[in-house]
Amino acid sequence: MTATTSPRPAGLKPEDRGPQRRAGTGGIRRGEAASGWLFTAPVLIILGVFLVIPVIMALWVSFSDWGGRGSPFSSDVHFVGLKNYSTILNGGGLAESDFGTALKNNVWYVIFVVPLQTALSLVLALLVNRALLRGRGFFRTAYYFPSVTSSVAITVLWLFLFSTTGTVNQVLAWMGIKGPNWFNEPSGLIQDGLSAVGVQNGPAFLTQNSFLGVSFWDWLGGPSVAMFAFIVMAIFTTSGTFMLLFVAALQNLSPDIDEAAMMDGASAWKRFWRVTLPQLRPTLFTVLTLGLIGCWQVFDQIYTGTQGNPAKTTLTPAYLSYQSAFQNQAWGQGAAIAFILFVIIVAFTLLQRWILRDKKVSRRRQRAYSVETAARAKGVAR
């Protein structure tokens, strides 16, 4: 590459980033446009071919009757409109009830995993972030280690720990509890709880009515025992990562406010709720959103562990999408499920953006009239 001759007129946007806003450096800028595109080309091409084009192709497949043979663009593949989507959403058949079941399972998974992993990782971060803690490095390492291992290896381990004669049941046996056959137990936790107090069947208005082919009674049944084992696993593997996010945020907090509150005689408990936690809000939202997005993508564990069994109670939309397409050759339906899942995840991402934007405004306001907002915030806080 030669960068010697004919200085290029400095027609470059002066508002470009960086502190370099000089007039006489045209020669240095020569050929930058070409290099810029050349440097980004590999990334653009690969992401384009394996990310953008696939999405477009799959969108077409979700509107077609392609059966997995030949090219999806060949002439004997037909446009079928929203047929695949309507089969899943109100076809009345197995496809609909499978999707409803998968959605139900995943909703319960989210309801359990997201709050628990967020709370646990915050607690771990607070414990580990003490200034005078011996072996801080050791504790952080111990809590973070499960996060680096592969989901396949962890699932294999979990299948053993939660097997009938597994470690968990042995530990429970020491305490005099007879553990269930975790990964083969399809009953829902809430239904289990109800039947323990004598309620075997739900009221008619719950059992008679259904949404997406799943009765309201089943929607409210809670995660199955098998799914619960996966829930525990998710909390185990993700709490370390989120702990590090919280630790980073805690270390960026200025101790001044906390000290001031301490001088005013606020208890540690009060200082946490009134001083520390409000300052952690952005990180809290990040963790919640990342958790939500991750929870809708449960695939590896199900593929490795249970394939949706027992009785489809660990089926997730992500796994159902794979199963419909690759095993049942219902490619259109599989792609349609993937897009519905996409919409769900994008909705959560947008929700997070929206909440964070809201936050930014209030912070700016806070700086301008800090006293006034403090007073107002109490009244406005949702």
Binding site: V43, S150, F342
Partner: protein, 306 residues
Amino acid sequence: MTTSNAAILTTAGGGTTDAGHPSKPQRRRLTGKALAARIVLYAVLIAIAAVYIYPFLIQVATSFKTDPDAASNAASLLPQTWTIAAYEKLFVNSDFPLWFKNSVIVTVFVTIGRVFFDSLAGYALARLHFRGRSVVFAALIAVMSVPMVVLLIPKFLVINTLGIYDSYTGMILPLLVDAAGVFIMKNFFESIPVSVEEQARIDGAGTFRVFWSVVLPMATPALITIVILSFQGSWNELSHFIISTQSPQLTTLTKGVASLASGQLSAGTQYPLKLAAAAIMTIPVAVMFFIFQRRIMNTSEGAVKE
């Protein structure tokens, strides 16, 4: 336990805990209470750490047990009779070495590719001025938010259409770049002062030359981050290999071990074998983790006196 706690307490007394706001007599008065609090804190921390580490110890211990021993003493950390039968079977009588080899091949190529292409693109986005740069950047951000599980079917369609299904190309190429890595590199390059590279440019070095010999060596910390992320990401990757290969010759560790696991869920046998496989596949990532621990855990470690 008590002695170490006492030691901690002595340091606590002389230390700078809460920036010394509480007056000294007050602190002395709290010592008894503080000691109790310390003991409780450490007990809690150790208990949680035990819960986090115990499963991995069980994993290693069980891999040296016999099948009946694994079933009857699942919670014990010591095998009744030590045996390496599981490892023997894995390495001599199974495709495990092949899986391992495939995982190594993919991981090495993906890591090299990501380090190179991500930093190249990151540099261009941080430093080079070209029309469309902001569009490229916006596109990358958009791409980052596409969830991977949604891409299973689509990626298969493209890989199949391109005729690279069931080949190393199909396994490696789609993983060769990642938007998040570009983003990390871009941020890092923006933090390096421009003056260094300008000098090189004035001396007549071309853009690639400046990037390769001047800027890249300065970016080692960010490059290590990319290495860690790509290594871990590609070593642990499962779904992409499920949809891009079917031949047993191309099975990676994740796919192979998953097939081991799902082979006989209810039979409950062969746990030592499965756990040995899982343990071995954890080792490279664990080694990586311990080598770069400081970097991974680097949440301003130096800010606090040890």
